[in-house]
Amino acid sequence: MRTILKLTATLHEDLVQRLRVPHDFAGERVAFLKCRPALSATSLLLLAGGVHHVEDEDYVDDPSAGATVGRSGLRKALQAAYREAVSMVHVHLHEHRGRPRFSRTDLRENALFVPDFWNVQPSLPHGAVVFSFNSAVGQCWIPGRSSPSSVEVAIVGSPMRCTWKVTNG
C-alpha cells in the first residue's frame, strides 16, 4: 500500500511562501498540514485542506536544530488536531532542488512527536514531510503500526507534480 499526501498547488505555494519568511532566531520554519484521510483501491490518501502555522513566539532558541518548537507550539498543534479532527503532517522546507532527505535529527524528532498526535486523534494517521523546491519525501504513522511508512507527495495544480512519476522526484 502506498501513502500519498495530496495538496493543491495553491496551498503548496502559500505554504512555501510562509516557510521561507525569516525568523528572528530559528534557522527555518515549520508548519502542520491539516489533512483528512481516505482509502483508495491501492493507497492511503492524506488530503490536505489547510495549514496550521507555528507562531513566531512558539519557536525555541536552539542552535542544535534548524527549528525547535516549544511546548506551547506543540500544544496548539495538538489542540488544532483535536478541535478539527484532522490528521497532522509536520512540514518544513529544504531550500534546494531535487529530492530532499530528512536529517538524523528530523528522523529522531519525527519518531518522538508525530505519534503524540494519537493522544488526541488515535484513529487517524499522522506524518512528517520535508519539501524541497521541486520535490518532497515523508513518513506516515498509521494507527496500529509501530514503524512509519514512506509518503509520496502529489501537488495538484497546473502543472501536476507527483514525486513518484519523475526520475529526480
Binding site: K6, L45, V156, S158, K165
Partner: protein
Amino acid sequence: MGDKLNLQRQSFLGADSEIVLGRSKAALVGIGGGGSHIAQQLAHIGLGSFLPIDPDFIEDTNLNRLVGATMEDVKLGIAKVDIAERVIKAVNPAAEVIKRRANWTEVTSELRDVDIIFACVDSISCRSELEGFARRFLIPLIDIGMDVQESSGEFSISGQVMLSMPGKPCMRCMGLVNDEALAKEAARYGVAGAKPQVVWPNGTLASIAVGFFMKLVTPWETRKETPLLLEYDGDAQTVAQSYKLAYLPACCKHFDSLNELGDPFWTPDALAIVE
C-alpha cells in the same frame, strides 16, 4: 520493432514525459461519443493506465460517433468499455486497462486512485456529483459537453471544455451547474428523448480535453496558462475562452472546507482491506 510505443516524435514534451505519462492514470467516465475519442488519443500519447467506466452496451444509434465501434460490435452487443479496451490495446498493448461496466458511483474506490477524471456524461446532475467526488479526493476533472439546440427552424451546435481544478473555481462558480438547471433537469427526468449527437464536435471537444490534460502533466511551455473554460461554437466552427472567466473568483467558495475532503466514514480498520 517491439510492442513498445515509440514516442520519439513527442519528446519535446520533456525529458521525463514518457515516464510521467506511463505512470499516469486516467478515468474516463462515459465511453460514448466524447469518451471514445479521448481514450483513443490517450492511448496514442502513451498514457500508462486507463479506468474506462460505462454501464452501457453499444447500440446501432451509437455508430455515428463512437470511435472504434463496428457494425459487428452492434450485432454482438459488445460493452462500450470492451470497445475502449480494444482500441487502447490496439495502439499500445502495454497500457493497463482496468475496465468497469458500471456506473461510476459503483467504483469509487478505484476512481480515487486516478490522476485525472475525464467527465463525458450527459446530465448536469451527474456532472455536479462527479465534480463533488473529484473535489473530495483532490482529483482534477476535465468535463466536456456538447449540445444541439433548435431555434427558429434551424439547429445550433455548441459545447464546452472545462477544467475543474481543486482549489480553483468549480462548475457552480462558472455557471455550468446551478440549482435552476438541476431543477429543470429533474423535472424532465424520464421524458427527454434521445439527444442529437454527432461525431465531429465530440472530436473537437475531446481533442481540447486531451490538450488540457497534456498541459497539466507534461507542460511543453509555461508562458500561457490553460484557461479553465473554453466554449465551442459549432456553427461558426470556433473555440474561444469563455467570457465568464473575467468574472470568476480566484478560488472556489463551494468546495473550501476541510469537511468536504476525504472519507466521511474513515476508519483505520479499512486499511486491512487495502493490503
